[in-house]
Symmetry: C2
Subunit: 449 residues, 2 copies
């Protein structure tokens, strides 16, 4: 016999066993339903792209993370590291055919050769949705509604969607004569929760002093920080913004957009406490230009935002001259799944079917499958045990996998046309249930949970 090959996965990659894959599929399915319910249409793009497409923006960060190689045809290719760049390429390629506005969702794996020290994986799923081809605030508002409904659909009640608008921050920077340094300053500001106000202030000052542009003196850094730290109810914050920055045209537009977002969301029935203005969120990414979204679990804030996004002026400028403004967000599915695992929110079953038909007597296999198929036709998942092992062994298997109900019948029962229906949780048995009533009895048992 040849030497065995050690079965193992690559560092930073993981297998999904049924106990984890069942809830992952449920999350994907729920996210899909919410996106679809808002009229977002699915698309898919290849995992592999020309490297020049993915690396269009260059940058050391991507260089370090990207899985890149030469294919059989001598092409320089790479695995996508997010779904945004492939979407930009896709939009540039087909927008004439797709028309605008165009709303899409895209769910799939991405690959990044990241440092695995902090439990990060090198392959993980993203679930993005975007509306492109419109600058209308209606799309920004809808994005907040989608995030809200998504979190509820995924089973969360205690969460907050935090909102900001880059226009407000940019308005202040303009007032302070710092408009030209906005991108760098916002990147520093974005670190506020991580490194604290002192360090942010120092970095801002150093940054400005090292540049040829206007110097950020401490008092200007303080004003930026004061804005970011504005606290109070949504109404308080809006009033204060209006008072302090309403005269700046850019800021005024941002304020008006945030106000309309909150008004519409309220009318549409979103609980007010779930949408919170938070002027400290800036998102490090420099392509955001308007509304910004982050989403936190109140019982697990330390994992960071689980659904983030924003408005951008131009999605696909690298690939087309047609300007494509839009707004969207990305659900960090695997991060959320890991959090739910830690919070014990995941069911323990490793079977997707609730019912096991015990194979009591192999000559009745046809009858077992007949009943199983009848139940499946009514939407009840049923596994027929493949071997005529002892009933006790089959019930042990049922218990280990997390089945809820076992059906047992032998020649006596078939002669009478009845089944024994065992509730595996309470370990009670309903005996001699007529075949026609088995589905109903199973539903009763399943509903009691």
């Amino acid at each position: 016999m040849a030497d065995l090959i050690q079965p193992r996965t690559l560092k930073g990659f993981r297998d999904y066993l049924p106990e984890l894959m069942i809830p992952r599929e449920q999350l994907l399915d729920k996210a899909r339903r919410v996106y679809r319910s808002y009229g977002f249409a699915p698309i898919d793009t290849p995992a592999l792209e020309y490297t020049e497409i993915l690396m269009g923006k260059g940058g050391e960060e991507s260089d370090r993370l990207i899985y890149r190689f030469t294919d059989h045809g001598g092409r320089d290719v790479a695995l996508r590291f997010d779904l945004t760049i492939p979407f930009a390429r896709f939009a540039a390629q087909y927008i004439g055919q797709l028309g605008t506005p165009f709303k899409r969702y895209h769910m799939g794996p991405v690959w990044r050769g990241e440092n695995t020290a902090h439990g990060r994986y090198r392959e993980f799923w993203q679930c993005d949705f975007d509306t492109i081809g419109t600058t209308s605030n209606a799309a920004d508002i809808e994005t907040a509604l989608v995030i809200h409904d998504l979190m509820v659909a995924l089973g969360f009640e205690r969460f907050q969607v935090r909102l900001n608008n880059r226009l407000v921050l940019n308005g202040l920077l303009e007032e302070l004569g710092l408009a030209g340094q906005a991108v760098k300053l916002l990147r520093v500001l974005d670190k506020l929760p991580k490194i604290g106000r002192e360090k942010v202030r120092d970095e801002m000052t150093t940054l400005a002093e090292g540049e040829s542009g206007p110097v950020v003196f401490h008092d200007r850094a303080e004003r930026i920080l004061a804005l970011a730290e504005t606290e109070g109810t949504n109404a308080d914050i809006l009033d204060r913004l209006q008072r302090d920055f309403g005269s700046n045209a850019r800021a005024a537009e941002g304020i008006a957009r945030l106000r309309e977002l909150l008004d519409v969301a309220k009318t549409a029935g979103i609980p007010e406490e779930r949408l919170r203005l938070d002027l400290s969120i800036a998102r490090g990414l420099d392509y955001y230009t308007g509304t910004i979204y982050e989403t936190f679990l109140l019982d697990k804030p330390d994992i960071g935002s689980v659904c983030s996004g924003g408005r951008y002026d131009n999605l696909a400028g690298l690939y087309t001259k047609q300007k494509l403004p839009g707004v969207g967000a990305s659900l960090g599915l695997d991060r959320l799944l890991a959090a739910m695992e830690e919070m014990n929110l995941l069911p323990k079953a490793s079977t997707p079917a609730p019912v096991l038909v015990v194979q009591f007597s192999p000559v009745h296999l046809g009858e077992y499958q007949k009943m199983a198929r009848a139940l499946r036709a009514e939407g009840i998942g049923v596994e027929v045990f493949p071997e005529p092992k002892k009933v006790g062994q089959q019930l042990k298997y049922a218990d280990q996998r997390g089945f809820k109900v076992a059906l047992i019948a032998g020649s006596d029962e078939f002669a009478e046309g009845v089944w024994n229906v065992k509730d595996l949780k309470s370990a009670t048995q309903r005996e001699k249930v007529p075949a026609a009533q088995v589905a109903e009895v199973i539903r009763e048992i399943l509903q009691e949970r």
Copy 2:
């Protein structure tokens, strides 16, 4: 402005636009439901594996097709080219934890650097299901039922699952003194529909003459071909097999298994014409050892089998000493999708939501989203148009995307608490429908289709 990067995909790769991705997601969802309804549990494995895992079996074929490279950590890695080998590795790694029998499905993309001449793609989805850890014929039988129910769920009525058993073929070869050459001979036999009986006979003869083993004379090749070409009803074929080969123990077991499969399927309610014995199907793959499955669309037989599989003695011999027998099959999802596209079986809509709320008046955006959310809560997908364009333009958009219903309301309607509901296909409008009845009216319109 920097030069634009040409937006394009790699040769052999394709994007899925909504019109194609909507039905693809539906097929995936339907397949998932069927697998789950039989108790198959989902798993996932990484797209990238150590090359030694994937190339365990060596072979020029894989060498030529595999996407292989060195990662940042200097590892020799490759993209999976099927879901079987990753499953074998997975099973070897976790079988102690998973227990047996273990039933899994796995749906995901695979990558092969194939010649793209015949419309083949280099990235495509497979949907596999397998039962491992049992030699019981109950699992073989269930595999046929799953394939049947899968095809029905995917919307087909005119299809045939063709069945064979390697044991019958091997029994004959044993009788003919050709057992040692079974793998090679079956590979040749598998070409029968492609190259015809003359060439198969010639290849068999040449093959045997060139080997040190026993020579295949024409009459022995004729006997193999005669077996493969056996025609008649399932009962006829079984009777003839029993008469001609029943004395060979191996063949007798194969015959008994096929007979039981057909009996159980009949009792379980599978229409008899959908399961057909076909002794010519051999499947080129040498790891099959028992039941073999192929599935053909009667209206599109030229695309070949859309769901194929079989029983094997040992799944994971490369990675573990534990013998893991099993049975399973793989749905060629993208091939099926391409066939459905050609057969005009795909809906033309590029929106997953049936209802468009026209944005008649922006001040009522909150009301539009309120109604939309109420309908979504009842399971009706609703898009709110993001811009207050002319109603005609919005209706044109609705028509182009394939929306079924438009909802229109302005200040007059909101004052009365009513909506105008437009059936976009018949271009008729139900006016002044009370808000509480809108969902019901929409359901009526959608059901008329």
